[in-house]
């Protein structure tokens, strides 16, 4: 009797260990640390839970911005929301459900996106969201899907190719009150940035030849270079604000699926294609 009791117990233990190992391999967020098979198994099911829910529902619900050029912008005429973030959501819908039209977009703002995710209104956030340590306590992030940060806009053919070419004598334009002014003045000793009321005025001054460089977040600069193709964004980013896709804390399965998709898209060249479609140039080298 004793021997027969022992065998199934060893079996369960083995199964448990396997489950724990597989959970660990997959990013490890399951709370059950192996003690009882059912607990670990349950955590495993919860992980794929949201994916199962999405598949059962037949559509993915993504929170995107409706007011951000190049990432998520609603066309007031047609009502269609378009952008890099929206295309990302479509690709994800295709991966999870097999059809990129099985997608429902919901408008989020920087203020509403976290509460909406946590109360289950949206499955994930794809809304120019910078990965920060503070936010990591509230949500789980995918790998970086867009490298945002401060960059430089110059006239095509300008000798300025990166932040290293900016000296104290360079005429740099910016916007009053932006942190980007402080950033660049810290990087370049003795530089005095000409500051304007808003981006449109600063860009107008740049086009009039009042300055050589306009500096702010690259996403805004890409929008300007598309307005006037005589201008280009150079030198990559010199501050680091990586955008990530956020899911509810503990939904490791979905994070894995997103990361897998990102890797597939990068390997197949689909990512570069999509990046160039919206930003007007190839993504920076990894």
């Amino acid at each position: 009797m004793k021997q027969r009791q022992g065998k199934p117990f060893t079996g369960i233990l083995l199964v448990c260990m396997l489950l724990v190992l597989s959970a660990c391999g997959g990013g490890n967020s399951s709370g059950g640390s192996g003690g009882e098979g059912t607990v670990t198994g349950g955590a495993g099911e919860a992980e794929s839970g949201i994916i199962a829910k999405i598949k059962e529902r037949g559509k993915l619900v993504a929170g995107v911005k409706y007011d951000t050029k190049l990432f998520g912008l609603k066309d007031p005429g047609t009502g269609v929301v378009e952008g890099f973030d929206v295309d990302m959501a479509k690709a994800l819908a295709k991966k999870l459900i097999g059809d990129e039209t099985k997608l429902e977009l919901k408008e989020v703002t920087s203020k509403t996106r976290m509460p909406m995710l946590n109360n289950g209104e949206i499955d994930l956030i794809i809304a120019t969201m910078t990965i920060t340590e503070d936010r990591k306590k509230e949500v789980d992030f995918s790998d970086v899907y867009f490298k945002a940060g401060q960059s430089l806009l110059v006239k095509k053919g300008s000798p300025i190719r990166s932040i290293d070419d900016v000296t104290a004598d360079t005429k740099v334009l910016g916007v009053k009150g932006a942190t980007s002014i402080k950033n660049i003045e810290e990087k370049v000793d003795g530089l005095r940035v000409q500051q304007y009321e808003n981006y449109q005025e600063a860009f107008t001054a740049l086009r009039a030849g009042q300055g050589e460089v306009l500096t702010t977040d690259n996403a805004i600069l890409f929008g300007m270079s598309q307005q006037d193709p005589n201008y280009e964004v150079v030198g990559g980013t010199f501050t680091d604000e990586p955008y990530g896709i956020a899911v509810k804390k503990g939904e490791t399965g979905l994070v894995e699926a997103v990361n897998e998709l990102l890797k597939e898209m990068k390997d197949s060249g689909e990512y570069a294609k999509q990046y160039e479609k919206w930003m007007g140039e190839a993504p920076p080298a990894e």
Partner: protein
């Protein structure tokens, strides 16, 4: 809400702004007075094309917003390959804009000098220019001091236009202090005080001048 500590915390910015506002005002003050006098004389010459030129100048610069006048120099001239900094284009814009008003004030002063004066001067053999310089203008100046001093006060206040074209003036720095500290009312109140520091002495000086001219006149 009003805290003078801000003025000391950002004294470098405010002083730099005050200095540039003072420079721009002094340059525009002298420039607009000279230019305004020339235009006023043009408007009253017997030579018709010159009269038209003077009239066109006044009507053009007096009837469009100062901001647009400044943009002509800041954003318009670069199309012709002439790039002037925000400070320079702001000061030039301020000069030509104010000179249009000053020209009108001076013309009114000249017209207020009885016609018999210039007729007498011309018949004693003085040329038109000589008549203007020695007979009419000296009398006209006395009449025009009050309206011109008003224009000068306006000019100092209007110099805040430099802030829009990043001319590093008082308004420009007040905006920057505002956007860095979020103490909007406080930051702008300090700028208002510093503008008063410039305009009140100016106002006082012109009143003294008026009194002296009234006595000698």
């Amino acid at each position: 809400m009003i805290d003078f500590a801000l003025l000391f915390d950002y004294s470098e910015e405010y002083m730099e702004g005050l200095r540039n506002t003072l420079y721009a005002s002094l340059i525009a003050l002298a420039g607009s007075f000279m230019l305004g006098t020339i235009v006023a004389v043009l408007r009253m010459t017997p030579v018709r094309p010159l009269r038209w030129l003077g009239r066109a100048y006044v009507e053009f610069f007096r009837n469009i917003p100062l901001l647009l006048v400044v943009y002509i120099f800041f954003l318009g001239l670069p199309a012709l390959g002439i790039i002037l900094s925000g400070f320079v284009s702001g000061t030039i814009g301020l000069t030509v804009y104010t000179s249009a008003y000053i020209a009108e004030a001076i013309r009114a002063g000249i017209m207020a000098v009885p016609a018999g004066q210039s007729e007498a001067a011309r018949s004693s053999g003085l040329t038109y220019i000589q008549t203007m310089r020695h007979v009419v203008l000296p009398q006209a100046i006395k009449i025009v001091v009050p309206p011109i001093s008003n224009q000068f006060l306006n000019l100092v206040k209007n110099s805040s236009i430099l802030g829009v074209v990043s001319g590093f003036d008082l308004m420009y720095y007040a905006d920057i202090v505002n956007s860095e500290t979020y103490q909007t009312v406080n930051a702008l109140f300090m700028a208002a005080l510093l503008y008063l520091l410039l305009t009140i002495p100016l106002s006082y000086a012109t009143r003294l001048l008026e009194k002296r001219l009234a006595r000698t006149g």
